[in-house]
Each structure stands twice: as C-alpha cells, then as structure tokens.
Subunit: 218 residues, 4 copies
DNA sequence: TATGAATGAGGCTTCATTCAT
DNA sequence: AATGAATGAAGCCTCATTCAT
C-alpha cells in the first residue's frame, strides 16, 4: 500500500483485484465514479453517492479502496495509462515512410481527436484536472507521466524522421506535451473544440517547422 | 448589494471600504485568501482558515463580506481588473514600429507573465478558474470581462498590424496566454530558460504566421 | 418527500421507518425532542442537544430526518393525529342520554386533559404552538387539522344535543380547550383541586348555557 | 441590579434613568424594540437591529441595559404595569351604584377591549408571550403580577357589591385572570376578536352568576 | 465478504457582548 | 458617554470513514 504525504493517506487500491468478481467490482466503482464526476462535478462527489450508484454498500467501497482519494487516483492513473498506450500503439505504427508532417497530423488526431474514455469525456477530464490540484499525489503522478510522454514523443519524432538531435527531440516532446495542457485550459474556458484543434496544430507546426525537410509546407 | 441567482446570496463587499482601517482589513482578508487559495487550493479554503490566517475572528470576516463566496468574488473582480488595466497600458505603448511577433511576445509576458499579486500567481489563477466553475456569479462576471478583453486585444493586435478578425484576435490572445503556462511548466521541470525561450518563440510564431503580412521576417 | 415553501426544505421523515430498529430510533428522537421542548423551550432546542440527549451522534439525526424542522413537524403531526383519534373515539361513545354539560366536561378532559405523550404535556403543546408560528409548514398542517376537528366537534356537540351552528360548535370546542389550561394554571398556583373543578364547571356552563335546551338542569 | 437564575443574568435596567436624556434614550430603545418585535417577531430581534433602528450604537444599548433580555423584561414589566394601572383606575371609578353585571361588562371592555399600547399591539402581545416562555424571569414576574391582579379583581368585585366571601372573591379574581390568557390563546389561533369577546363574556358570566343578586339576567 | 447504520470533526454563518478609541 | 469594530461560542448541517452484524 502506497503511503503518501501529509496526512498520510493510502492511495493505491487496497488489493490487487485478482479474483474475477473483485475486478468487476473495482471496475464498476471506477466507471460509476467517472460518470458521477462528469455529471455532477468533483465537489458533489461523495462516497455515499458512489456506493449507491454502484449498487453496493459504502463499506464495500472501502474493501477495494482505502479512501475516496484512492478511487480518483486510480481513475487518474488509468486515464494517463490510456494516453500512454495510445502513443505506444502509435509509435509502433510509424513506418518512416510517411512525411513527418502527416505523422504529426495523424498524431494530433489520435491524441487530441479521439475520445479517451466512453461517455461524457471532456467533462471528466476537466474534473480530473480539478482533482489534480486537490490531491498532491495526482500532481506527482502527472509529472512522472509527463516525462514518459516526452520520451515517447521523442521516439515517435525520431522514427518519423525528424531531423533533430536527441536533446532537441526530448525538448520538443516536452513542449508538445505542454501544449496539450493548453488545449485543456482552453476547453475549460469553453473554446470550441474544432477551433482549439486549429490553433493547436499551428503551434505544433511552429515547433516542428525548423526540423522539417526543406519545402514542406501546409 | 448585488442580488444574484437562485440561492439568493450577496456577493459584493458588505460596504465600500471608505475608512482607512476598514480598507486595510478588507485588503488583508483578500491578500490572505489569495495566499491560501494558491497554497492549499480552493477546496481547502475555509472561512475559519482565512480568519485565523488573517489574525482576526471569523465574525470579522462577516463584517466586511456577507459570505465566503463574496470574498472570492472580490478577488476575482480585482484580478480581472488588473488584467484589463495592463492591457490598456500596453495598448497605449504600441507604436506599430516593432515586428508583430515581438509585440505579441511582449504582450503575453506583460499580461499574464507579471505577478498580479504577491506570491504564487499562476496557482491562484487556476484556483480562481475553479471557483468560476463553482459559482455562477463569477462566470457571469468573467463573460463580461471576456468581452472587454476581446475588444482590447482586438485593438492591440490591430494596431500591431495583425491581419486577423476580431474573433481570431481573441483566440490568439487566449492561446498565447496558454503558452505562457507551458513556459512555467517547463521551467519547473528544470529546462534551461534560454531553451524555453526558443521553443516559446517558435510556438508563438506558428500561431501568428497565418496572419503576418507576407514576407515578414522574424 | 414533501416539498415546501420558499427556502425549499424537506419536512417529512427521511424514510418510512420500516425496519424495527429504524422505527425505534425515530421514536426515540421524537420522544427526546418532546422532552427537551417541554423542558427548555423551542428556542433552546438544538440538533446537538437532541443528539446528545438521544445518546446518538448528530449525523444520526440526519439519517432519519432531513433537518431540525422535520423533527418538529413529525411531532406536530403525531400530536394532531392523537387529538383527532381521541375525538373520534369519544364521538363513538356518546349516547345522547347524558346531560350536555357533562358530555362537554368529559370532552374537555378527554381531548386535552389526558397526557398525550409521556411527560410535561401542556408545556409541549405551548412549544408546538410556538413552532407553528415559526414554520409555515406547520401552520398549513394545523389549518387542515383545524377543519377536521371542526367537523368532529360539530358532530359531537350535535349528537350531544347542543343547539348550535357549526361555527359556534367549533368555537365552543376551542374555548373549552382554553379553559382546560386555566385549570392547569390554577393548579400550579396551588388552588385546591375540588375548588378548581367548581369554577371550571361554572365557566363551562356559562359557555354552554345559551345553547342548552330550555330548562336543562345542571 | 437584580441577579437571577442559571446563567446568572442581570435583568433590570442598568441604572435608574434619572437624567432626562438618559430616560429619553431608554424610552426610545423600548419603543423601537416593541416595534421590531411586533414587526419581525422575537426570533429576528437582535441587539444590532435594535441599536440601528434606535439610531444609536450597540454599545450604548449596554449602557442602559445589561443585556438583551433586560430590554424585553422591562417592556414586559411596563406592559403588565399598564394593565394593573387600568384596573386600579377602574377600581377607583366604581361607585357601587351600578348593577354588578354592568360593572363586569365595563371591566371587560376596559381590560380586554382597549389597546394597551400604541401601534401593532396584538402582535406585540403575542411576542411577549413567546418571550415569557423563553425567559424564566418573565414567568416569575407574570406569576407575581397574577396575584396582584387577582387581588385587584377581588376588590373590584367587592366594591361592585358581589355577594361572595373574601376567599371566593380571590378565587374569582384568579379565575378571571386565567380567562384572559384564554383570550390571548384564541387570538393567537386567529379567532376573530369580536367573537372572542362574546365567549369571554359568557364564561365570565358563568363564573359570576351564582353571586349575582337574584333576578339579574342578561 | 457484504452491509449500512453510526459517527463526529469540521464547514458556514449569526449575534450577544466587550472594549479601545 | 458614545461608538462600532471585533470577538468567538454556538447553531445547523455534511460526509468520509468505521464497525457490529
């Protein structure tokens, strides 16, 4: 059990969900919690609500998770995991035959365009961001995730044939990851998704342009 | 007293802080609240904490503000006011002689980069944004503010020679603001300042490029 | 859940007390609250007091009642119900053979004289009346109750042979009820019980005289 | 300064208002408090409201009264005093020449019919009754007052030629005083004033009838 | 294992009273 | 004497967490 910062709180799931039934229950809790967060917001998310909506008793929640925070933490981890997974799959698909610009376009679509989770996704993402600022553990997790993503991005860019040094590729990766939080901010501010994508693309292009093969234009 | 939506709540300061001492106390409350918000987050902001940190009794808070929300509301108003003020000052300084891209970078730094209040500013802003999603009154205020800013931005970009529509100018402003937080993230992650500046520059250029007059150099 | 006036408050019990234990707790809360109201008055009735006196935590109150008002509301409903019940039983017992004045005195004793709940009943009633003037919901309930009582009284007096209109019958009932509190006051002041009975009798007679059949003896 | 029950509270005015200005201020406080009680009810009566409505600072209130309770106490005393005063004046006016029944009728008019204080009187009386059940001191005062009134009534009845023993007259006095609280209850319950008077009269008549000279009829 | 009743610390707010000016 | 800012105990209510069954 992971022990964390002031007030020492356990944040990982209480036990590895080996048994099938256990796993199903954990999944249900997480799923229901996602829905409630997306629907009512983090502020109105109570353990009692989660239990009732999951069709189980509050006590059962605490068999699978040591506390409320741990539930959100797990959701956050899975969410980050999905993002990483996509990037990894994307990395494997890259052949090197496509023009970089197309690769980047495809990446943007994959990373920003797809729905990461079933249902009211944008809202959930916003609430997770709130949670991140509420629980220090999430922030730490986010930082580690950032490094991994930067590395992945670096490798993607490498395989796509980006004409940059290792150091530069890592920087580009970090920066592109940062751009994703810009996207999220703008979403929270209510900017239209399609519009966001356009600006996002322009910024990305600005970053990559110096490393694109001569003559590559929009 | 501003009367607001469904759960009738008073959200403006209880009285115009005419007297000197009064004003000092109001300012102290606001300042302390800013710090607490930035440090611990909106969720952990309690009236009792504010009172204790301000070195006064809870009851005293309620002499100056009708409720907790009103304190946040006031902070929000002042923050918006400062942003507007800066943009206005900036607008007056624009000569039209500088390259657009420099003007834009200067703008981003001036508007959002400077510390608006003592202490951890970026964090405060995030918390204010959370508050905005929590209190309908803030959203309304933000909407009005947004219109004013749009106008100002539009005029700044116009004067700087940017060939974009009103809507686009607003979007550019928002995006450039977002880029600034990327810069801060990277700094926290330990990236070299000079390096950050380069990438920042590239991203900014990517954003502005479509609107720059043909052949404009860096 | 009964939805009520302006500050939307739930005033019925949170759940029908099906389970045995549940019902016991609800009853305990109500009983304790009655005692506290009678002893210390409505003004000093606090949720914390109720909880402590009931030997349970505050939170438990709120499992069974949505708020303080709802507790008082339930007490009030039960009290009104008991009064009605008594009148109905009394109505069935009337034969018409007794002299009216005796029937009336018996009525006063039966309806208001008996202890409706364990303990200091008269006081409780006073407090309930205070509560009624404090909570709009109670007033509405009281109004409905009043109509039902009016009908019952009307039928009782009618069956007892009283020659009065419906309106007058209701008024007589209310007045006789009032006389009973005089009796209690005098008892508290130390007047001899037998003596009180005599005066009580005379006042009752004064009230009924105009409606008694010509020549009716005491 | 009168020291009273648990929690020891001072309830008489802080000083005999000798100085003219002092007296004026005390009177103003009392008057304003009466209005506020009648208008908003005892529950919403706060010292701050009283002060503001009196056009003075809260602190000044506490120069003339040791606490809030004392203000209400004083109002109550004055109110009781006015009732007594009327009865005394009435006593002096009795000549013995009038038929008893007329005297009693006149008394009823004087005691129950007149307005005891200027303004929203009925409401104030109701609030004072609430206060009585809130503050033990008021109840004690009410009891003493009751005795005095009973004595006065007894003397009135004597002078009016009521054919009763001293003991009986005292009892009658006590009972008639009790009847007045019936009147108040009925008022609180919203019964029409004129109607109340009629029943009140009938009960009074019932009480007195045995002692009226033979042949006195309505 | 599962349950859900029970807990109680802690959040927001009010207001009688005090005290420095 | 007068002022009114300041105080803080106390009121109502919520909800994460525990524990007996």
């Amino acid at each position: 059990m992971v022990e964390t910062t002031i007030p020492k709180r356990k944040i990982s799931a209480r036990k590895a969900p080996n048994q099938e039934r256990s796993k199903a229950r954990v999944d249900q809790i997480l799923e229901v919690t996602c829905e409630l967060m997306a629907t009512n917001g983090l502020e109105k998310l109570t353990t009692n609500h989660i239990a009732k909506a999951s069709g189980m008793a509050v006590g059962s929640l605490y068999r699978y998770f040591p506390n409320k925070q741990a539930i959100i933490y797990e959701i956050y981890l899975r969410w980050l995991g999905q993002v990483r997974e996509r990037m990894e799959r994307f990395l494997e698909e890259i052949t090197g035959a496509q023009p970089i610009i197309e690769v980047m376009q495809a990446l943007a679509e994959r990373i920003y365009g797809e729905s990461l989770m079933p249902g009211d996704d944008k809202q959930l993402e916003m609430e997770l961001r709130k949670a991140m600022s509420l629980y220090p553990e999430l922030r730490e997790e986010d930082r580690k995730h950032g490094e991994q993503i930067a590395t992945l991005l670096s490798r993607i860019l490498e395989r796509a044939g980006l004409n940059a040094s290792d150091k530069e590729r890592m920087e580009i990766g970090a920066y592109l990851y940062g751009l994703d939080s810009v996207r999220q901010d703008l979403m929270e501010q209510g900017m239209d998704q399609q519009t966001i994508r356009v600006w996002q693309w322009r910024a990305t292009f600005g970053i990559l342009q110096p490393f694109l093969p001569e003559g590559s234009r929009f």
